[in-house]
Amino acid sequence: MRISTNMMLNDTLNNVETSYQNYVDAQQSLATGKKLNQPSDDPAGTSQALSLEESLGQLTQYVQNMNTANSFMENTDTALASVTNLIQQARSLAVQSASDTVSNAQRQNLAYQINTIIQQIGALGNSKDGSRYLFGGQKATTPPFTGSNGTFVYQGGTVANGNANLTVDIAQGESIVTNVTGDQVFTGVLSTLTQLSNDMTNNNLTAISNTDLTNLDSSLSSVTQARAMLGANVQRINSSLQRNSAVQENFTNLLSQIQDVDISQAAVRLQSSQLAYQAALTATSKGFQQSLLDYIK
């Protein structure tokens, strides 16, 4: 093939440009650490990467939901533990007061203690987690128990009114109920204790030992049941958190495979492209040194 002067120039220019472009690309990928900078870098990978990012965003959101739920349930459990203690105290007071060795005056004193316990339990019924009342169902912004003269009336959400459950999504398509409503636990306890207090005041020993103690036991077991339900849900959340973090790790790795540069590969590519660029430059500078013009005198 006949080679014209410009042909050699153009070919050399093209070669230098190509090898320079490769060199710059290699440098950029090493500098940014990313091989996926725009969809055209890897169209299928882009869609995968976007899906993974979305899933990771959602997983993080679920972790946030679960942390909120855990805190709410732990606070609920703490309140219910205090209620258990108070019921046990009330029970021993009831047992004490059921004995005929106790004078009527002493029994009045015990009734007074029961009234104090009623106030304490009532106050626990209005405990909060942050701004939310723990036992008000979906009516979590107003105190669930109101009343005067030592009585407590439940105002919160109920199953019957369809506003009992506080539900939290903990994974895609999976949700749990995080709360216990006041009417499920407190209303029974409070009415039993009020009855006990009345029976004590009236020295009705038969009622105390026959009905009140039985009722106290069943109140205690309903609180225990509620706590067991909470415990089970906390466990479910903890295992879901573990699963979530395993999936997050997996997705993060996948994402990194799609969008991050393999540093050692990129370093090798930079070296070889630099070498190619230098070679092209050398060839260019040598190639144009010689011409017939050098020899015509």
Binding site: P39, P43, T141
Partner: protein, 468 residues
């Protein structure tokens, strides 16, 4: 008997001819870097011989010297034609690559400002709302996340619309530019034909015309054919066509139609209602770009309108903290018009995070079930098996695939063009070493002829001194 001055005349013709050859070499060397220049060759022939009867020659012919019979340019018509079509393809894919890069820039994926992340953040903020539905701070966050998302929808949509407007403007200016070139080709045809008729070998005009045709081919793919005179010989003129439509016929040029359309993703000009396919050129790329952008725009509108319908449907059935119900979350119908309902912006408590209360009940502040339902739209299959997010991701993937294929096209076409340019340059390009070699050759010939003149001159001197 031959003229005493025959020899000096013969040597004189050599001086003139060699001088002319050196002039052509000089022209070649001068134009070594001129784009479109084809190297020229001075063709030498003998002068008509002289017949004489005389003492020295017994009725025989004697040569009278040398002359330049023609100056021709070196071209390969076949390579030129192929280069014309390859260049048109190259500039078409270059235009498409540019368009797609701009589109990718608008979508800004993958990145935190892309719609994928903004839509996902929008949906997950409804999750936060679901667990804190009474929290007015979180309600405000939901609104601002929604506004970030609608803002990006608006901005991508506006960007795509602006691109189309700009491309339409470029199409018209490209056609104007092309019409100008078409006129020049017709004028050059006239001048070249005049030259051919008068046998003056208008090489430089032909180079100029080739150069203009190549510029035209960059703008819009054209084919050319040599015109023949009635005797079957090329008359020097070139006819130019776009698709099957003639735009230069000898000395006559025709205006390129300004209306364009796309049929089956292929670009066309509409000539008096008849579609004429555009085979490449930046014009072809622009027409095709507008069609592609319209497709992306429509896909984006589908995402936006689905989002509007689905979210509104759930939202309007839910209840706000203030008991408000029946409100849409979004106003607008597509990517350009989607907005967060201004009523919600001014009163975030009206965001319907709660489901309907039971009969006779008022709305419960901490019922976030509707917010949770809206949030779960992120993973609901709406487009076949695809959720809104997946469908959007598939759209982005398609844009990426288009961009990748046009970039590959452009790189391939560039290689083809470079190869053909090399072939053309191999035939038409100037080689300095070659020209220098020729220069030495003809310089020597010129010196030899000059020496002849000197010698004959001294012979004539001797002759004249005899007379004295």
């Amino acid at each position: 008997m031959s003229n005493s001055f025959l020899g000096i005349n013969t040597a004189g013709s050599a001086l003139i001819a060699n001088q002319a050859v050196l002039d052509v070499i000089s022209q070649n060397v001068s134009n070594v870097n001129t784009p479109g220049y084809s190297q020229q060759t001075a063709n030498l022939t003998q002068m008509p011989p002289y017949t004489d009867t005389g003492v020295a020659f017994q009725s025989t012919q004697i040569g009278t010297g040398v002359q330049v019979s023609s100056i021709t340019r070196a071209t390969d018509e076949f390579v030129t034609q192929r280069l014309l079509s390859a260049t048109a393809n190259q500039s078409q894919s270059n235009q498409l690559e540019t368009t797609l890069n701009e589109v990718q820039g608008l979508y800004n994926e993958p990145g935190t400002n892309g719609l994928s992340n903004l839509m996902n953040t929008f949906f997950t903020s409804f999750q936060t709302l679901a667990t804190n539905s009474e929290d007015s701070g979180i309600r405000t966050t939901v609104i601002s996340n929604a506004q970030a998302m609608t803002g990006m929808f608006n901005s991508v949509s506006t960007g795509l619309t602006n691109m189309t407007t700009n491309l339409q403007g470029s199409i018209q200016s490209t056609i104007t530019q092309a019409n100008n070139l078409v006129g020049q080709i017709a004028k050059l045809n006239q001048q070249i034909m005049d030259g051919v008729v008068n046998d003056t070998h208008p090489n430089d005009l032909m180079d100029q015309r080739d150069q203009i045709i190549s510029q035209l081919g960059n703008l819009v793919g054209v084919t050319t054919s040599q015109e023949l005179s009635p005797s079957g010989q090329p008359n020097g003129m070139v006819d130019v066509y776009i698709g099957g439509m003639s735009i230069v016929q000898g000395t006559q040029s025709y205006k390129i139609p300004t209306q364009t359309e796309t049929i089956n993703n292929q670009p066309y000009l509409v000539n008096d209602g008849t579609p004429v396919q555009i085979s490449g050129g930046s014009l072809g790329g622009m027409v095709q770009s507008i069609n592609l952008i319209a497709g992306y725009q429509s896909n984006l509108d589908t995402i936006a309108s689905t989002l509007i319908t689905q979210v509104n449907q759930l939202h309007s059935s839910g209840y706000g903290l203030d008991g408000e119900t029946g409100l849409n979350f979004f106003t607008g119908t597509n990517a350009a018009t989607i907005q967060v309902n201004p009523e919600l912006v001014s009163n975030p408590n009206a965001i319907a995070a709660s489901t309907a209360p039971a009969a006779g009940q008022s709305v419960s502040a901490s019922n976030g079930d509707n917010a949770s339902a809206i949030s779960n739209l992120a993973n609901t299959s709406i487009f076949g098996n695809n959720s809104i997010l997946q469908q959007y991701n598939a759209n982005i993937s398609k844009i990426g695939a288009d961009a990748q294929s046009f970039t590959n096209d452009y790189n391939n076409q560039t290689q083809i063009v470079q190869q053909l340019q090399s072939m053309q340059s191999s035939v038409s390009g100037v080689n300095i070493d070659e020209q220098m070699t020729n220069m030495l050759q003809y310089q020597r010939s010129y010196q030899a002829a000059a020496e002849m003149v000197t010698n004959i001159n001294s012979m004539l001197d001797s002759l004249l001194s005899m007379v004295q």
